[in-house]
Symmetry: C2
Subunit: 556 residues, 2 copies
């Protein structure tokens, strides 16, 4: 390597947004990827299934990637793994993480038939040498078991990427974050802290996960009918607490939703969920129990279109038919952007006659991300030289920076970054480098496309104003029209004089063709171009809209 | 009229939803419409501009409509007026409301060139005889001046539609709701109360509008740079309070956004806004003043796509360029559904380096809708025989019903309705009647269409999976293919073997045509049908997607 030793931290996702976290850590020409997350599309992204970080930067660097390290098993940290490996065409990059995280990774890779990728379970305290990096996972608490911070040591010093975390002093599994190790790292000196900003805008401390269980139990005590609790399927400790509350009140438990059954199964195998035999009941057995002896735990806390709860609310679920007297408890809050879907689901439930209890009615949820005081605790424990807030939109990154300043970190040591902007650290200091390509890649069916994806752009245009297809049949000899032009439209706003419009449009086609023939324009592609331009103008003049105009010229 | 006297209250919008309020009140064969509101489309409603209540019920009854009464000038109570009158083809139905409401109505009607519609300013206390109805507007407080409840008296008794209201004890114009008149109506006996449910889920009392001004002033005191305040343009008393705070701190005021200038203008003409000459500055004069001498009042508090603030946040506004040091105050909260647009705008502002103050940071907004205790006050003042909660989704209607019950209204006298379900009252009692058509009508460009609108359905399909256009040229003589089929696709998810797919697809067209020719299928429409079915199947088998397949058969 030429020049001085340099650590380069390039976030490709998760900055200036909430979701699709992914960071490239480079030293001595070698790369570790920390997290490979995705985001879900917004309503304007018509026909898009998933949103990935733009990983173009890695295409030329595939051979330099030594490893992928995943902090925990949530989609926004793990979900892009199979897509990226498949697209890069490699299966020989090892993936490291905690046992639950790796179980989830393997399940994803299997679905994509990436059987050769090695997923390595990392033990606590274990230090893994990966090229020029020493890598260690530090146990943290979050809304999924097995969440870790990643400490990466190079000759320049140690950097810490926290992943998502909270400092839960009384977690359900009685294993608080490894504050001893964080403090030790701080004593030894942390060069750079890249910390979770998700709740930088909330003052104080998050509430402990273990306070949620008693609250759920308290709510169960008042209910005489059937209970449905919805929460994230990956929040395995929450599921455990719902199970415990059910057992306490003599109710059987039914798991509904594919991911709820899958995650609870994985969780049980790895010892994160425990329940006695006979407590769990299959959906088809529900009829054997009276309503007051049942708790259904269901997916759909975010109002997701195909989720179990949303189907129930639309009276469209195969196994569960909701009715007056049922009580639905939302043990989750809407992720920003999902508010409308959640509210619509809740309103459907009220329409059916169900009772609905949300976190506005009782504290039956706690966030998995630390609040402002926890972010401060992280900074005070690790005493970093440089701070680069991660996992947050610009607002939260800004607020995280303010928290660091309030603890005495100099403003010049706080780097408020954005996706694609690398932080470069040498023995002399730290500064942002030249911006690299960053953005989004869409998963559209089974293929990947980027923001300029023609198919997506076309669909946006089609969805706004529809399409006119014009078929002109011309003579191979002289380019004149030999059959009446066909004009078909779809999705174009209804117009009362459609017949007249079509007639006029046919006339416009004929005269455009006649013009082109007179000008000796004979090549089909050129005739189509002329036809397109003439008709687009004609249609806009008549409709004040810009549907797609698709001319087809057939030579006979 | 045959049968006993009957009052019929048919809500066509505003129940089971928030928005597009509209109610048909019928007695003795005659109709009054109370409110004619609209809603804005959600992101899935591709290419739709506005959403109106389905007013099909009125088409056969146009001649029976005696009047339209509008409670206040907000879009969800007034916005559908021109569309409905235009579609029904009538201009001789008089419109009644307070002076500001009527000024806004006239402005809308003018834009649609409905110059002949008579808009009648109603004075407080005035009783208007309209057919068999005595109609009176009762002054209420809300987030726009000139808000009223509507009392409609028939021989069966008096019904009251509250419109949107709060019981603001210290409104900015020092004119609290006319509680005396409400109490008097209650003493005389109110048959039916149709009340605002918007904040039925909030305990306690809403805060007074006049408490917002001092809070804004307090915030202004801390700011050394330029201030931008965004709020609803129709919240004229809020605008007044921002102007007052600016004046107090020696700042000039700039109005930005078309509706902000228009509403403030109307408000000043009618005496609702007052400010000294010289305080108001034109946008182009801003450069003459230092930042700390300026307050910009802007539209865009909901993150609306083309609003002034959204443009500023995207550095795309002609007159105002935001910069580090500017402070943007959101004197409004997001209407449910707008959260994402508002958050995106805020994040853009942070990215520019602006400071942002929202209602989470300081109480610089108050709701225009009464909370639970105010809903109770309304019921206790008017002592209605029957209660039918209005203006709310199913949840809020349910909660409003619970509030009424808690005051002793018998459950059997509380009618939780839905759009299209008429409440029918005779001397004998009240009950829901047979459901009438209700739903939505879309404004799509300049035309109206309903939920089953083919254009919209097509656009949804196009937006999800794109379109294949297949052009086959067949011989008029024997139906055989005489030119190579043309296959064009747009918006179909990109596929790596597109060329091969197109080749195969052409082959499928040829064989489908050959089949049809063999079976003596010759009529073009039938050939197209066969082609469509064969190709749709082929495409689905290959892509696992269902793009629109549009076959065009040209005979030569």
């Amino acid at each position: 390597m030429s020049g001085p030793e340099r650590l380069r931290v390039l976030p490709l996702g998760g900055l200036g947004e909430i979701g699709k976290n992914m960071t490239v850590v480079e030293f001595d020409g070698k790369i570790i990827l920390v997290d490979v997350g995705l985001r879900f599309p917004t309503a304007e992204m018509v026909g898009i299934d998933l949103v990935l970080p733009d990983f173009s930067y890695l295409r030329e660097r595939v051979d330099d990637i030594e490893a992928i390290v995943v902090t925990h098993g949530h989609e926004d940290h793990l979900g892009a793994l199979p897509w990226i490996l498949k697209d890069l065409g490699v299966q020989d990059i090892p993936v490291y993480g905690g046992p639950l995280t790796m179980a989830m990774a393997r399940s994803k890779l299997d679905e994509h038939r990436l059987k050769e990728v090695e997923c390595v379970d990392v033990k606590e305290g274990e230090i893994i040498e990966i090229g020029p990096f020493d890598v260690e996972l530090v146990h943290m608490t979050h809304s999924i078991p097995d969440a870790s911070a990643v400490a990466i040591t190079t000759p320049l010093g140690t950097m810490l990427i926290t992943g998502d975390y909270k400092f839960d002093q009384t977690p359900v599994d009685k294993r608080p974050a490894d504050m001893q190790r964080l403090a030790e790292l701080g004593r030894e000196g942390v060069l750079l802290l890249c910390g979770d900003s998700t709740n930088a805008d909330r003052a104080g401390w998050s509430t402990s996960e273990s306070l949620v269980g008693p609250q759920l139990s308290e709510q169960f005590a008042h209910v005489t009918g059937r209970i449905v609790v919805t929460c994230f399927a990956s929040n395995i400790h929450r599921v455990q607490q719902v199970i415990d509350a059910a057992q306490k009140h003599g109710r059987k438990v039914v798991l509904v939703g594919r991911s709820m059954r899958k995650n609870t199964n994985i969780g049980r195998t790895l010892g994160h969920v425990k329940f006695p035999d006979g407590l769990m009941v299959q959906p088809r057995e529900m009829a054997n129990f009276p309503d007051h002896k049942l708790v259904i735990i269901s997916t759909g806390s975010q109002g997701e279109p195909l989720s179990a709860l949303r189907r129930m609310a639309h009276k469209d679920h195969r196994q569960v038919e909701l009715k007056k007297g049922d009580t639905i408890m939302f043990s989750a809050t809407p992720i920003p952007g999902n508010e409308r879907a959640v509210n619509e689901t809740i309103d459907r439930l009220y329409h059916i006659g169900c009772d609905v209890i949300t976190t506005k009615d009782a504290p039956i949820h706690s966030s998995g991300h630390g609040y402002a005081e926890e972010i401060k605790l992280m900074i005070n424990l690790t005493r970093p030289k440089y701070v680069m807030p991660f996992h947050g939109d610009h607002k939260r990154i800004h607020l995280h920076g303010q928290l660091a300043e309030s603890l005495g970190v100099p403003e010049t040591s706080i780097f408020k970054g954005e996706n694609g902007l690398p932080l470069e650290i040498t023995a002399k200091g730290a500064k942002f480098g030249k911006k690299e390509q960053a953005g989004v890649i869409y998963v559209d069916g089974v293929d990947l496309g980027d923001e300029t994806d023609a198919a997506l752009r076309d669909r946006r245009m089609l969805s706004a104003d529809g399409i006119f297809v014009v078929v002109a049949t011309i003579s191979e000899q002289d380019g004149t029209s030999v059959a009446e032009p066909e004009v078909i439209f779809r999705g174009v706003p209804y117009s009362q004089d459609a017949e007249r419009l079509l007639g006029d449009l046919r006339g416009a086609v004929e005269s455009s063709l006649a013009d082109a023939a007179k000008k000796q324009i004979r090549e089909v592609a050129l005739v189509q171009q002329v036809l397109h331009d003439d008709l687009a103008k004609f249609v806009y003049d008549r409709l004040k809209r810009r549907p797609m105009v698709l001319p087809v010229v057939v030579e006979v």
